[in-house]
Point group: C7
Chain length 89, copies 7
């Protein structure tokens, strides 16, 4: 995977931005698009620096008419394309 090294000043600030958005989403419902086209919806309970996630009350949405309840899951970050935090208010 491609990464760029840096002096760490500004990029650390930016990384904190990524982290901050995840932290602000804790305890809230997030949407997660997975590789392969499926979507998860669940309450974000935890994450780590590899974007491994703990989700509660998770639903796997294959298509709008096909929702599978998964309860609590640990999701490996490798499978994540993007995470939509709840709309800020």
């Amino acid at each position: 995977m491609a990464a760029f090294e840096s002096g760490g000043r500004e990029v650390t600030g930016m990384a904190e931005m990524v982290e901050k958005v995840l932290e602000q989403s804790l305890g809230k419902t997030v949407l997660i698009k997975l590789r392969g086209g499926k979507t998860l919806r669940g309450l974000l309970e935890g994450f780590d620096q590899h974007v491994n996630l703990v989700l509660r009350d998770t639903e796997l949405i294959t298509d709008p008419n096909n929702v599978e309840r998964l309860g609590t899951i640990i999701l490996r970050g490798d499978n994540v394309i993007m995470i939509s935090p709840p709309p800020s208010d």
Copy 2:
């Protein structure tokens, strides 16, 4: 693989959340969705930081009518999409 560096404060707390859910599942039956669409069900006996897992009394569920008994297995974490711990009570 994408990861973000951080000061380690909050993220460590979060990582412990991922770890904690795995630890709470030890000795209990978990469901594991694998890349490629198959599911494993087994008693979680061990894990490491790469989500390599040791499972006992494992069953490979290709479809609801096709269950293959695998006994104890070591599962490489690379193949895991998500892990469903048992419902907490």
Copy 3:
């Protein structure tokens, strides 16, 4: 992934070039081509050294007639092919 080591002199200068273009794009609308052929358009709010991105007012453009509003998202860098910063003026 392939990378080459170096004395760090010139390459650091170059890495700062990559970083600088991302920094100059903060708060502006960027286009992102994803693996698999889809495009995202959104306001760049943050990034880290793995090209994980935070985007606001994001739109997923499957084709010109199919735009899905995603709001704020965290995008894992693994899925990014390229990022088009806004035209400099």
Copy 4:
């Protein structure tokens, strides 16, 4: 690949669990499911921390009626989905 950092206490204990099951399988026949659907059966003679394996008297089982004798092999861990140690007695 996704991994989570930790304080190392409990996770080290767990990693030893993964290692312990491999060690207990040394000199015994294991079944190995490979990416792509094939199975290997062989005597486990060695392993390393990347799950690279040395197997003796190995058989490649494409389907139950198609068994190819491979003798001793070095298997790269990248290709392994799971390892079934012999039933404990």
Copy 5:
């Protein structure tokens, strides 16, 4: 990914060769073949040790009759197969 360690003497010299060709291409038009068969043409403005590139006046060439103007882009190195620097004179 496969890499080999070395004492660093000669290989460092070689790495500098890779870096040197990229440096000599700065400010010049390069051709880049991407995974998946597409080609980019653009002015090389920056690179880092993971072959992440900054390109200006970039064109995406799907086929000779289909050229899309992309302007300035940041290209993640993971997607690069090869880079053709301008003919030396």
Copy 6:
């Protein structure tokens, strides 16, 4: 890729086992199964810790009636599934 950390005692012993089998194969003919289904046969002249290999008098065996002589090659370890050392005597 999944790896597990360990105290290094026993696993180092095991890693030496993997290395030992490769060393014992130096100067002998090995069979190598590649990702994608092809097989190489050649004299093992060198290897490194990433299972990059140097082979002499190499033959690429697409099928039993289709053998292409390749001479000496450097094979990147990423493409290797397994290596069959010569039968010990």
Copy 7:
């Protein structure tokens, strides 16, 4: 990716073997098989520890009747399956 740790003695010797064959090929024509079935032929001008290569007078050989002249290129090592150095004399 799978790698094995070692005490470094013998394996370093072997790594030097891989490096030595590349070094002996500098300034000579090598054949390179790429993932996806294409072949490159070019003069090896440089390499690094990730098998990133600099080639001069490069030709991309899709099939024997379809040779495309590429001139000097930087090839990312990820795309390489094997390298055939010139026959030693």
